[in-house]
């Protein structure tokens, strides 16, 4: 066996701590996918699926100490943050169990036969959604739980009735193995095959996974180059599959003159807190902030400088990320005319520690010289942000027009400001989530969340957080003139469905019947 070993590495020292697994070769990927494919029909029962998701949350909580210890060693994100992230992950699993129980995601539509219908006689039609099959999930570096093995892609795919094969992130293989074991134990405990959750390691394994004929869809959170390469593979297959990727986001922020005048210190300090949170390793980190010229903007920058200078140094997730971060900061701060009120740099001799920094760009530069300042309009992962001073709204608009898509766009304005509506309208085409005040870091797990956005923020219009994330793993099917007794309970007439309606088996899902929405 000459498949390379997979090492767990201590993120604080850069030292290898244990050999966790081996990279999956093509045969191993094929086996994992076939096992998942054979297992996925067992997920057809909604009640069991919901029970499984809840059991998975319970099991992750029970294994919490070991999971958090492994994740902290592998990512250096700290136990406080990781405890919160595990809580969020378990909440998410239970929230999807509720989504499964309610059944609105099935989008049941029933049109009874109507021989007198316009424009032509209509057969009996009943539409709902079925799981797509096996889903490939690509774990993210920066969320070892919430966007990795037990994260939102896995939870939503299982909730949809799909088995998953996760490609572990190399930054946390041990955490991945522990989490997968917890999920598989929960499956078995609920009477499901363990193979509803598979796990593979290795870059080539990810490629093989996306190419596998029995994989029907993929979810991804990561970088633009990696995500785009996999998206291209998914689209280029003989049978293309949907690839729901979250690739990168600059997360622009516009601070109006009035907001700066009113709340300069609060905004400056808030920005410092947001761009350094989790060592800037959030996909929602504000990366470009438009601040007005003049005294109010200067006050804002002063508060930002104070906050950023005081922000703690700390390790990034891995060495490659540190290299990219330092090179990215150097490239941006070397641009002509740009200043670096707080300079980022290495911190300490061990591990991958860095200190936060930010660059400030005088008004007119970015809008005036597009080519030269292009780097400022691109994401740089890690604790860095760019403050672009501006003279007037037209200057901001000119820069916004050149941005790619974003997960978020934020407006700091005063509620009564006349221009606020115009700014919201200008920011909406740029992002999946538009904030009025506050900061984009922090993504609530809630039904109304949209975590996605125009490319490259996402490769589809779907959300990867919140109940609607389940939609990615479903496909509608209509049944025409199928006799009641051959239909699934959710598609039967309720009069005809005495058992289902009476025993609370969950067949009473929200539906649209003959055009009318019913609960």
């Amino acid at each position: 066996m000459n498949t390379p070993p997979v090492w767990s590495v201590d993120a604080r020292t850069g030292a290898r701590t244990a050999e966790i697994a081996v990279e999956a070769d093509s045969a191993a990927v094929d086996l994992a996918v076939r096992d998942a494919h054979a297992a996925h029909p067992a997920l057809a029962d909604r009640g069991r699926r919901a029970a499984f998701l809840r059991a998975a949350a319970d099991r992750l909580e029970a294994d919490g100490a070991a999971l958090i210890a492994a994740a902290d060693r592998e990512t250096a994100l700290g136990t406080a943050r990781l405890t919160g992230e595990l809580g969020r992950t378990c909440y998410q699993l239970r929230a999807f169990a509720d989504v499964v129980d309610e059944g609105a995601f099935l989008d049941v539509i029933i049109d009874h036969a109507d021989p007198a219908a316009a424009p032509a006689p209509r057969p009996d039609l009943r539409r709902w959604k079925v799981p797509v099959g096996v889903v490939a999930v690509f774990a993210a570096s920066n969320f070892p739980f919430a966007f990795s093995v037990p994260g939102g892609d896995t939870a939503s795919a299982l909730a949809a009735g799909c088995a998953v094969v996760v490609k572990a992130h190399p930054d946390h293989p041990e955490t991945s193995e522990l989490a997968a074991a917890a999920l598989r134990a929960a499956a078995v405990q609920t009477g499901l095959p363990a193979a509803v959750v598979g796990l593979v390691h290795g870059r080539q394994a990810g490629v093989d996974l996306v190419r596998h004929p029995l994989v029907s869809a993929a979810g991804f959170t990561g970088s633009i180059p990696g995500g785009r390469a996999l998206f291209d593979l998914a689209a280029g297959r003989p049978v293309p599959i949907p690839f729901h990727g979250e690739l990168g986001s600059l997360n622009p922020v516009v601070v109006t003159e009035a907001a700066a005048a009113e709340r300069a210190e609060e905004i400056g300090a808030g920005l410092a807190g947001s761009f350094t949170l989790g060592m800037g390793q959030f996909c929602t980190k504000p990366g470009l902030v438009f601040v007005p010229e003049g005294a109010a903007g200067d006050r804002l920058e002063k508060a930002l400088t104070g906050g950023a200078a005081e922000a703690a140094a700390g390790p990034l997730l891995d060495g490659r990320m540190r290299e990219h971060f330092l090179a990215g900061f150097a490239e941006r701060s070397a641009l002509p005319g740009v200043s670096t009120p707080v300079s980022a740099g290495t911190a300490g001799a061990d591990g991958w520690a860095v200190s936060p920094g930010y660059v400030s760009v005088p008004a007119g530069l970015v809008a005036g010289e597009q080519e030269r300042y292009q780097a400022l309009l691109e994401e740089c992962f890690g604790p860095v942000t760019v403050v672009a001073r501006y003279r007037d709204a037209a200057e901001v608009q000119a820069v916004l027009a050149r941005l790619g898509g974003n997960l978020t766009a934020t407006l700091h304005a005063e509620p009564g400001e006349e221009q606020a509506a115009g700014w919201l309208a200008a920011l909406t085409p740029l992002a999946g989530r538009v904030l009025f005040g506050g900061w984009p870091t922090g993504v609530a797990v809630a039904p109304a969340m949209q975590h996605g956005g125009p490319y490259p923020a996402a490769t589809s219009s779907a959300t990867s957080v919140g109940g609607s994330a389940i939609e990615r793993w479903l496909r509608p099917v209509s049944y025409q003139n199928v006799p009641q007794q051959l239909l699934p309970a959710e598609l039967r007439d309720r009069e005809a469905d005495g058992a289902g309606a009476a025993d609370g088996s969950g067949s009473r899902v929200p539906r649209r019947v003959d055009g009318v929405l019913e609960r």
Copy 2:
């Protein structure tokens, strides 16, 4: 100007009747897209959009005689069929107006702020869907109205608030121009810019359209090679866009032993009617029919032979289609062991007329020799079908396992048959619509319709017929902590929205508020 002319051709004679337009060069495509992009914000008002769709239906009806005459000359589909198709098209436009008025498609979800929420304090979040921008629509050869300029893609995109640029099908340029003129007149009459509907001719124009940076999505109905080439272009763009294509479908039919015994003549005659309908030029034509060996199956074939032999000859849509059809029939009937109870052929000296035919394959052949009989598992456009006799269910299953995705799959079984449920379960993964009895030709315009299916039936999981078709042209956006007065009426609290709720302006859309579905 050296752009080639676009000719209208009489489908019954093959003769050019008029020069209609010129092919759009890159500059012309660019202009059409820019005009559409500039026009699309005018569609933001839902009330006006609904009025426009209804005015478009009225205008198409008013221009019906001219439209039907042009379409009949260009397609030879006959005035009866075209009258029906235009009625269906107008019904569809009005049905989408109702969808716009109701507003359920906006998928409004509101989560009020909750400082005590688990797993973390929650901001105020309000999610709905916004139009994606300009949509490119590729018209189909075989439906000059219902899947062309004024068809389902256009209607659903306009309903979503998107402007469209249609790439006309070369088989009916005059019909396309007349229909576009009707739509544009309706727009102007409703106070909208005419440019919400653009029209271009020419193959390269289609390529330019899919590549244009201001085009945000595409809808397509046509062939596998053409559709796949455009899909690849859409996915390969620097900013990929969704490409909702309907490419091809074999539409398998399984007739059980019991159904054949009970209804051999009815099924045989029904099949003859279905595969010859519209000269077999439906994407839902049954192309592979599994019929049991033995006496009942023989009776079925006898009825099929009678019906197919009596079916009228008639012209296909164009000369290329006739060539493909004749070559396809010859290829299939030349396979060893295959018989041709009714042989297709040319009919008459003029135009593109052909007569229907079918091939019959003895049991065991298709299941036994995969490579050799592959052609029988591929769509052949035009009035031809393949009857595959079978010995047992396992033989049918073996062939079904090799099929690509389909728009439809049909089961002819007796309601009480024990195996019926198993057959429905086996057919569901193959198709977007599963029929119990009847024939797949005939696609009801109804909320519960699913017209789509696994690739190559469709390149996405969307439907192109029925109210859900609007979903293709929308993108979700969440607003976080945005003050009530800056939100669209549909996202405001109803207490705070006195005006909207009271004046019936349409702001009372179905919503999910704090987890509860509301009408």
